[in-house]
Structures are given as structure tokens and as C-alpha cells.
């Protein structure tokens, strides 16, 4: 049962090791409810599509895993699609060549394959940090992409269907459902997996293991000299984050029932996953998940509105980096920029004109700086 505790004077509740204030509990509850009623919401409005939100959540889930590395060990992996793709392809291969029909078994296969892949890629790329680590992960990701593209057994650029058995689809609870019901049921399965995944990740980020990862991320040398075998810890974190990607990829395959290399293994997917984590707020637990939904949604809407939807992504990234470096969830949190600004505005509405002035001044200053940089680049001197 929930137990009442106290956090810095605010009453909080503790349950299964999760500690939340009343405010946070409300957000949590609303979030869970929203997740569960998405299939109903999408029947109300045409602009919302279940498949789009579902896909956003799955990539967002991969981003939650990536975030363990990004947030704590400060390593930027540029190849997380490798694990998403490994999970997806493992599912497809099991369905096609081993005739596995059960969704549960397919997902276990995805987890196993992603774990092995992350273990191998981890050992090979974690010899380096920073740029070289990012490049190595990118390289391994592309390697897998090339393999998937080149192997006819893996379907080449056409991809593979996931339609095992006489029912022509994976079985949930040993039963074949009609396509509509199947979509909704797999969505609920995703929600359950996500909730469990978030809970596990939350517990990991409260554990001594997280202290070790933080230590490594913040001062690697010192971490070694307090007795941490640094590479082993980072490797385990890498494998855990890969497993999240594998689960997401496996679910993706089960849901879509068809996978292609571009959707799952291409390096731009790795970029997307990284972008989702930053967009949602990589210093938060649920940020990457929300980032996933928002990004996939925007890409989908953008595709309808304009041919240049990549432009849209670019603009969002710029706004994010300059205006909201803490991401969506990070900015909305107490102490985040949105909350702080709203508070100021409520206390003193005239602060608006000050902001306007600061904005103009900053723009002027930045422009001047840019001109100086340009002069230096063009003429070699100021």
C-alpha cells in the first residue's frame, strides 16, 4: 500500500519505491489514463491516428532506453536504431523461418537478439568515448542496415512480413483477432510494456547503479579512482538501453506486421531516437517517450502539409536548442523555463515589456557576433 512520506516539506507518497508528491501523482494518473484512452480518442478526431501515436510511443520507448546512456554516462549513441532494428528483424525471422506465432515468444526473441547485439556492439564501441564512440555506434548501425539490405533471406530493401501461421498474423493469448481489434490490443500491450519499462527505468535511476553511471559521466577519471571498473558499468548500461530498443523494435514488427530496413535500421532512425530524447527532455524519465510521440506526430502531419517536412524538424530543433534546451518535459517541470516565466508573468505582468527588450537586445548582440564571426571567417581577421 502507498505510504506517506515527506519530501522537503511537501507530503509525498511512496509505493513500490516510487515516490511522488500529490501534484506528480495527479500528472502520473492523467498520463496513464490518457495512454489507455488513446484508441478511443482517435475515433473522435481524424487528425489523430492510432498507428501514428503507437509508432511514436514505440520509438519514444527506444529513446527512454537511449536516455540511460545520454543522461547518466553522458555518452551519445548515434546507432540506437541498430537495436530497434535487431528486435524488429529477430521478430520477423522467428515468424517467417521458425513459424513462431505467439506474440510473447516473438518479443522474447527480440529481447534476446537485441541483448546479444548490444553486448557485442557495446564491447566494440565502448573502448572510446565522445566523438569516436558516436561514430562507432553509427558505423555498426549502418553495417546492420547494409546486411539487412543485402541479404535476400532478410528481404533486402523490400523487407519482411510478420504473418506466421494459418491465421496470417501473430497470436495474442493464442487467439487470432480481426485486424481492428488486433491493432487496439497490441496498442494496449505496448502501453503495458511501456509502463513496466518506465517503472524499471525509474527504479534503476534511483539505485546505486545510477550513482556509478553518474560518477562515470561527470568525472570519468575520478570514477576509476574510487574503484569503479568504468567500462564494465558503461557496458551494462549500454546493454540495458539496447534491450529497450529491442523491445520497441519487436513490438513495432508485431504491430506493423511488415518491416523494412529504412523504417527500422537506417541511420536517420538513430538520429530520430536521439532527437526524441532531447526534444522531450533528456534529463527526465518520461521526456523521451513524449518526444517520440511529438516527433512522429509532427513528421506525419508535416508530410501532409508540405513536401519539406524535414525543414519543419530542423526548425523545431533550432527552437529547442536556443529556447528550450531542457526539452518539453524539462521546460514544464517546476523550475523549468515555462513555469518560471508564467510565475513571473502572474506576479508582474509588465515583465512582458522587459522580455521584449531583452529579446531585441539579444538578437542584436547575436547578429553582431555573427557578423564578426563571418568577417573573421571571410577575411581571417576582425
Amino acid at each position: 500500500m502507498p505510504r506517506r512520506t515527506d519530501r522537503d516539506g511537501t507530503p509525498a507518497y511512496r509505493f513500490l519505491g516510487v515516490e511522488v508528491t500529490r501534484r506528480e501523482a495527479v500528472f502520473l494518473l492523467v498520463g496513464v489514463v490518457v495512454l489507455f484512452i488513446v484508441p478511443d480518442l482517435t475515433t473522435v478526431s481524424d487528425s489523430l491516428q492510432l498507428s501514428v501515436i503507437h509508432q511514436g510511443l514505440l520509438f519514444g520507448f527506444a529513446a527512454v532506453g537511449l536516455n540511460l546512456l545520454l543522461r547518466h554516462t553522458k555518452l551519445t549513441s548515434f546507432g540506437h536504431a541498430a537495436f530497434f532494428g535487431t528486435g524488429a528483424y529477430a521478430t520477423a525471422v522467428l515468424a517467417r523461418y521458425a513459424g513462431v506465432q505467439s506474440v510473447g515468444l516473438l518479443l522474447l526473441g527480440a529481447i534476446a537478439a537485441a541483448t546479444v547485439m548490444a553486448a557485442i556492439i557495446g564491447v566494440l564501441s565502448l573502448r572510446h568515448t565522445g566523438l569516436y564512440f558516436a561514430l562507432l555506434t553509427l558505423a555498426f548501425g549502418q553495417l546492420l542496415y547494409a546486411i539487412a539490405l543485402g541479404q535476400s533471406a532478410l528481404g533486402g530493401s523490400d523487407g519482411l512480413p510478420i504473418r506466421p501461421g494459418p491465421a496470417n498474423q501473430p497470436l495474442l493469448f493464442g487467439t487470432a483477432f480481426s485486424p481492428d481489434v488486433y491493432q487496439v490490443l497490441t496498442y494496449y500491450l505496448t502501453v503495458v510494456v511501456i509502463l513496466i519499462g518506465l517503472f524499471v527505468m525509474y527504479r534503476i535511476t534511483q539505485s546505486p547503479f545510477r550513482n556509478a553511471l553518474d560518477a562515470i559521466g561527470q568525472e570519468r577519471t575520478r570514477a576509476r579512482f574510487i574503484g569503479l571498473p568504468v567500462r564494465r558499468y558503461v557496458w551494462v548500461a549500454f546493454v540495458i538501453s539496447g534491450i529497450y530498443g529491442g523491445v520497441a523494435g519487436g513490438l513495432f514488427a508485431v504491430v506493423r506486421q511488415y518491416i523494412r530496413p529504412e523504417e527500422t535500421l537506417f541511420f536517420l532512425r538513430s538520429g530520430d531516437i536521439l532527437f526524441m530524447a532531447i526534444l522531450g527532455g533528456f534529463r527526465t524519465l518520461v521526456g523521451p517517450l513524449l518526444g517520440g510521440v511529438v516527433l512522429v506526430f509532427l513528421q506525419d502531419v508535416g508530410q501532409d502539409v508540405t513536401q519539406y517536412y524535414d525543414f519543419l524538424t530542423g526548425v523545431i530543433l533550432l527552437i529547442l536548442v536556443y529556447g528550450f534546451p531542457r526539452g518539453i518535459v524539462g521546460s514544464l517541470q517546476s523550475g523549468g523555463i515555462v513555469n518560471t516565466r508564467l510565475g513571473e508573468l502572474r506576479r508582474e505582468p509588465s515583465v512582458l515589456s522587459t522580455w521584449g527588450q531583452t529579446a531585441v537586445e539579444t538578437t542584436e548582440r547575436k547578429l553582431a557576433e555573427s557578423m564578426t564571426s563571418l568577417r573573421i571567417i571571410l577575411f581571417g581577421a576582425d
Binding site: P208, A212, Q218, F225, I226
Partner: protein, 251 residues
């Protein structure tokens, strides 16, 4: 006992450590100070002992066991801790979290993925003890980055002590600390070191401090041992005085 046997290390042409043979901790809990002009190879020597660098030749022996090939983190487990000349703490953690991380690591609890980091009572007790010992209680919830320099140095040293070492190698624990705080930092180190029976090897430029606290002084010059002796050596050895003063001891 921690021994260096015929250690050699060169970087290209430069011989940073030239056949050093030394013993520490024959008397348990002794306070050894390493002195020498800039470039004498003091830091390199500590780097070799702690596994930050590996020697070109020679052995490092801990209680009779050759640990020359042992990794840095295993040496910490074996009881050799160190600090760095430039403060190396976990900048985004509070003082308490820094110490907690150290104690969790020392007690081998960092592989626990599902316990609460702040839920281990024995760890918390130890953290509170360290906070009190190093008079950091008031700063306990301050982010390391925001600490005044003296406290950062203290935290750095407290983290090393938190590892329960038998041997502690400190690389200029008072560098960059104001004269007023210097006494305070070094006194705390000496006090805790003596109380815990830790053999402490400290690089120090301030000769007043060395004279006041050292049990034994090791003087290095151009990578080699110039002399080993009681702190009075600093007064009696004219060549050593010239070496140290010639380059300046005001760092």
C-alpha cells in the same frame, strides 16, 4: 607495506621517474611528504603507484604482492586511494551524493539496480560520519560545482578517505587554497589520517606544512630520489634547500 622497486618511466626523451625505490607504511599510519622542485617527477611517481600510468621498468609491491599490472580500480579495492592536484569530484552531485557514491562503491553496492541509493543505512551512517569529520555538514546539500575552493578540496580528500584506504596518496591537497584555509585543510587530513591509521603520502610545496606535520620526507629531483629523512632534513641539507628555494616554494 607499499613498495616501489626500481621504477622507471620516461616520456620520449624526458625521464620522469628514474630508478625510484621507496617504501611506505613500514610504520603504519605514517605521514610522508614528497617535496621537490617543479618537474621533479612527484606527480608521475604517484600516477605510477596508483595505476594511472604504468612504469617502463620496475615493480610496485603491496604487502609482498606484485601489483604492477593491476588495474587502477582494483588497486583502489586493494586499499590504495588517491586525490588529484586539480579537484576531481562529481560536479553535478551534492556533497552528500558525492560521498554516498564513494561509500556505495567502496561497499560494493553499485551493482544493485533496484535498491534505493539513499536507502542503505550503513552507507548513510558512514556518509554522515564523513560529513562531520571533514566539517562539511553545512555544505552537505550544495552542488559540488558551487562550493568554495577550500571546501572542494576538502570534499576531494573526504572522498578519498571514504574509500577506507590503507594508503592514501594526495597530490597537493593544498594547492590553490588560501593561506588561511591551508592550515585547516592539512590539519583535517592529518587528524583523520592519524585517527584511522592511514599511511598518507602527500605532495606538498609549502615547507612550513611539511616541517610541522611530516614523519618522513622524500625529496625528488629530476625523477630520482634526492634524499629520504626526517623533516629536519629541509634545514640541514643545503643542496636540497637550494633546489627547492631556487625554483621557488611559493606554489
Amino acid at each position: 607495506m607499499l613498495e616501489a622497486r626500481n621504477l622507471r618511466k620516461s616520456f620520449g626523451e624526458l625521464v620522469a621517474t628514474d630508478d625510484i625505490t621507496l617504501e611506505f607504511g613500514k610504520d603504519e599510519g605514517e605521514l610522508v611528504f614528497i617535496v621537490g622542485p617543479n618537474g621533479a617527477g612527484k606527480t608521475t611517481f604517484i600516477n605510477l603507484l596508483t595505476g594511472f600510468l604504468s612504469p617502463d621498468e620496475g615493480e610496485i609491491v603491496l604487502d609482498g604482492e606484485d601489483i604492477t599490472g593491476m588495474s587502477a580500480d582494483s588497486r583502489v579495492d586493494a586499499g590504495i586511494a588517491r586525490s588529484f592536484q586539480v579537484v576531481k569530484v562529481f560536479e553535478e552531485m551534492t556533497v552528500r551524493e558525492n560521498l554516498r557514491t564513494v561509500v556505495l562503491t567502496e561497499q560494493g553496492k553499485t551493482w544493485s539496480l533496484f535498491s534505493m541509493a539513499d536507502g542503505h543505512e550503513d552507507v548513510e551512517t558512514k556518509v554522515e560520519e564523513l560529513l562531520a569529520r571533514f566539517r562539511l555538514e553545512d555544505a552537505a546539500d550544495t552542488i559540488a560545482e558551487e562550493l568554495p575552493h577550500g571546501d572542494r578540496k576538502l570534499l576531494d580528500v573526504a572522498m578519498s578517505f571514504g574509500l577506507d584506504p590503507e594508503y592514501l596518496l594526495l597530490d597537493e591537497p593544498t594547492s590553490g587554497v588560501s593561506t588561511r584555509e591551508k592550515e585547516y585543510v592539512i590539519e583535517t587530513i592529518v587528524e583523520v589520517g592519524r585517527a584511522e591509521g592511514v599511511t598518507t603520502v602527500t605532495i606538498e610545496h609549502d615547507m612550513d606544512i611539511v616541517t610541522e606535520y611530516a614523519d618522513r620526507v622524500v625529496a625528488l629531483h629530476q625523477g630520482a630520489v634526492h634524499g629520504v629523512g626526517p623533516p629536519t632534513m629541509l634545514e640541514t641539507d643545503d643542496e636540497l634547500r637550494r633546489l627547492l628555494l631556487g625554483v621557488g616554494d611559493d606554489e
